[in-house]
């Protein structure tokens, strides 16, 4: 599943990056790396870009750029699932 397929309120975890060169670098630098859990906060009034939230960062990205991020859906709006897990599954050095 891609980030661009998610709907407002969905919670998901990044599983990989498809985007290349500068877009990928940018996404990496903003902290959207494998294992990051985020929530889709909203869509801009005209339907593009979208805004997501993770670890104190409010990030907006165009659907086009969002299509370069592979995700796995973890929850939806109102399901009471916390955004981050206490302990990340993937740990340094593993």
């Amino acid at each position: 599943m891609l980030l661009s397929d998610l709907r407002v309120g969905d919670k998901a975890e990044v599983t990989g990056l498809l985007a290349d060169s500068s877009v990928r670098r940018r996404i990496l630098d903003m902290g959207l790396v494998k294992g990051t859990r985020f929530k889709v906060l909203r869509v801009a009034p005209l339907g593009d870009p979208i805004e997501i939230y993770f670890k104190g960062v409010y990030l907006s990205l165009r659907r086009n750029e969002a299509a370069g991020v592979q995700v796995q859906k973890r929850g939806e709006v109102g399901d009471g699932m916390p955004l981050g897990s206490r302990r990340s599954r993937w740990r340094f050095g593993s």
Partner: protein, 712 residues
């Protein structure tokens, strides 16, 4: 008096981390602003005398990372390598530590003498975030000083630390970030190979190795020239295969992931967030400001406010300045007996300086507004709201505000494009701006529409011409982005920073910086150009006409007894002679020379002259016409000028429309061209733009003229 020891300090940090506020708080009024060499990125420098030291600060541009993708990042890291500051202070946004630490890990890799300012510490405490500073210090291998630029807390402690680190009073145990074994091994091997190249001494070799693994173009270009490259290339290929096989990812991703893993570990050890995360103020504001229904209206309202603040408030100031310079000219004139000298000083120099200064109120007001939007966090949201429309034309969401500002004046608008990070986005936006009808083009429209159309129709004609400018501008952007400016545009992956109340001081500093920059850099070009155009329209003088003027005045003074009648007659003669002189001048000859080219658009040589002098400023098109038609001083409301134009057989509705289109599209005033040159940084693109604008103006005027002839 003791000699102060100098300490060079660079401030590095993410955008919106409060770096500039900290810089302002530290250096007070000892500041100067320039550019980093070769790029239009502002370089703020300042110093503070503390104890027996003069601590010099450089405020590096805000960056999230130190890759080679954006000019800001390149400038930052090149500065660190080339200028090797004694100490680098990494400013962190306390409440948003995790993402901020990415830059810290990269600074650690460069092994600079690092000091961390944990900024906005007051907010950290207010939000109930618990940061174990000692522990974090150990992990990062550098000292951490909690500061608050807003409350001016921790500043002395920061300066004390600077001095102590500089004097090696306190020991710093640098920590190294470990990557996964495959990558770590490769880093050591590459660093080992690099160490055989003595010329690479100024670099940190481990850092070079990491950058090579990260596929960094700049570093690649540096290292490729050395013999060690052959072996390094083999290692790079090997690691690539290894990581692909084991982790299904290339080294670049692995390295960033490992940095974040390190940060995540550090955060778990050192930071405790309050148990229940309440919705923050930012969340609440965004619920309204970015609401699907309200987002656009609010955005338009904000733009409206900025526009009015700049121009409704600025216009009286402009008029005031205009009046002042007029008064100055009138005061000086009687003291200058020599005709030529008076003309040079009054009409050339004073008018020229006035022509430069007149834009200052707009620039200052606009940048007060824009820096407020930028610093408060709304600017990014504005881009978020309109990006879809702008993106359709190949522009960026951030292009919108400069574009709209163009309706007031191109000069501040072009300067406002600095918020755009990608050069190609920026160029495209700069080139669209002059197509937005600026305030100085309005008098031309008012005159022509008023003279040739009924009032009801005239309003529609004016509206039409504004819309036409927008359409031509947007499509030009689209075409340019698909052809000449095809290079990659900035990816839209942008942080929406938390809302903050900006400090008045930093807002004013920004406005001051912009004003100074305009005066110093653009001002000289503009003044020169205005003087040139003035010379063009005054020289050479026809001595026969001068003689005729003296003769006729003499005969009038003898023949007409009544004082007022005599004055009127003299003015009439003067106006007629001035028209003759203008025709005789270089500008006049240029107008005549141009006639064959502009004939197909319905223009005769007189319009040609007006177009040439209009390069100085668009409203001069109107006053030149006044001179040509022997009216002396004239403006757009002059009914005399309107009547003359209406009765002139060379002028009809089609000509008027065609002229409006031409004035809308052709080269903007010299002031705008000067600023354009300054902001783009090279003449080539400006020349391209000039050619493009002229061609577009000619073609569209031609079409307008011919269509209007058929229809009207």
């Amino acid at each position: 008096m003791t000699v102060l020891k100098e300490v060079k300090v660079a401030l590095a940090g993410n955008p919106n981390c409060g770096k500039s506020s900290l810089f302002n708080a530290l250096t007070g009024s000892h500041q100067k602003v320039g550019n980093f060499s070769g790029v239009t990125i502002e370089k703020h420098e300042g110093y503070v005398d503390y104890r027996n030291y003069r601590i010099r600060f450089v405020d590096l541009p805000g960056t999230y990372s130190l890759t080679a993708y954006s000019p800001e990042e390149l400038v930052t890291r090149n500065y660190l390598i080339e200028n090797s500051p004694d100490i680098v202070i990494n400013v962190l946004e306390g409440p948003n530590l995790e993402r901020n630490l990415l830059l810290t890990t990269q600074l650690m890799e460069m092994e600079v003498d690092l000091l961390v300012a944990l900024n906005m510490y007051d907010e950290v405490q207010a939000q109930g975030i618990d940061i174990k500073v000692k522990q974090l210090q150990r992990l990062l291998g550098c000292h951490i000083v909690p500061t608050s630029a807003k409350k001016k807390e921790g500043l002395d402690s920061l300066l004390d630390h600077v001095i102590r680190v500089y004097e090696k009073d306190i020991e710093v145990k640098k920590n190294k970030l470990a990557f996964r074994p495959e990558v770590d091994k490769a880093i050591e091997e590459i660093a080992e190979l690099l160490s055989r190249e003595p010329e690479l001494d100024k670099y940190n070799l481990r850092w070079l190795a990491i950058k090579l693994l990260e596929n960094d173009k700049e570093v690649y270009n540096v290292v490729r020239q050395y013999p060690a490259w052959v072996k390094i290339e083999l290692i790079l290929q090997r690691v690539m295969q290894e990581t692909e096989a084991v982790y299904k990812a290339d080294p670049e991703i692995i390295i960033t992931e490992d940095r974040y893993a390190f940060i995540r570990g550090a955060m778990q050890e050192c930071m405790k967030l309050p148990r229940d995360k309440k919705l923050s103020l930012t969340d609440y504001i965004d619920l309204i400001v970015l609401n699907r229904a309200l987002g656009l209206p609010i955005f338009l309202f904000v733009v409206w406010v900025i526009f009015h603040m700049t121009f409704t408030l600025g216009t009286p100031m402009m008029d005031g300045l205009d009046y002042l310079f007029g008064a100055l000219a009138d005061t000086v004139a009687p003291f200058l007996p020599n005709d030529t000298l008076r003309s040079v000083l009054v009409d050339g120099l004073i008018a020229g300086v006035g022509g430069v200064l007149i834009f200052l109120p707009n620039i200052v007001l606009l940048f007060i507004g824009l820096s407020f939007l930028e610093a408060s966090g709304y600017m990014a949201r504005a881009a978020f709201v309109v990006d879809k429309v702008m993106h359709r034309f190949g522009l960026h969401g951030k292009s919108f505000i400069p574009m709209i500002t163009g309706f007031g004046c191109s000069i501040p608008a072009i300067m406002a494009t600095r918020t755009l990070k990608s050069r190609s986005d920026r160029l495209a936006t700069i080139m669209v701006i002059p197509f937005m009808s600026c305030g100085a083009k309005l008098p031309v429209y008012v005159l022509l529409a008023g003279a040739f159309f009924r009032p009801a129709v005239a309003a529609n004609v004016m509206f039409g011409i504004y819309m036409f400018g927008i359409i031509v501008g947007l499509f030009s952007a689209l075409v340019m982005k698909k052809t000449v400016l095809k290079s990659e545009s900035e990816p839209f992956v942008m942080e929406l920073p938390p809302y903050r109340w900006p400090s008045l001081r930093s807002v004013l500093v920004q406005a001051k910086v912009k004003a100074m920059m305009y005066l110093k850099k653009a001002g000289t070009i503009i003044l020169l150009a205005v003087l040139l155009i003035w010379t063009f329209s005054n020289y050479p003088r026809n001595p026969e006409l001068d003689a005729a003027l003296d003769r006729e005045i003499a005969s009038i003074e003898q023949s007409i007894a009544d004082e007022t009648e005599r004055q009127d007659a003299i003015i009439a003669v003067e106006n007629r002679i001035n028209a003759g002189q203008l025709e005789y001048s270089l500008a006049g000859r240029a107008g005549k020379l141009l006639e064959p080219v502009i004939k197909p658009l319905g223009f005769d040589w007189r319009i040609g002259i007006a177009l040439v002098t209009g390069l100085a400023a668009k409203e001069i098109v109107v006053s030149t016409m006044g001179t040509i038609y022997s009216l002396g001083e004239a403006d757009e409301t002059s009914s005399e000028l309107k009547t003359i134009l209406k009765n002139d057989p060379a002028f009809d509705q089609a000509t008027a429309l065609s002229l409006m289109v031409f004035v809308l599209l052709y080269i903007p005033c010299v002031a705008a061209v000067g600023v354009m040159r300054k902001e783009i940084g090279e003449w080539k693109s400006v020349a391209f733009y000039g050619a493009y604008a002229l061609t577009a103006a000619w073609i569209f005027s031609f079409i307008t003229y011919r269509l209007a002839q058929l229809v009207l």
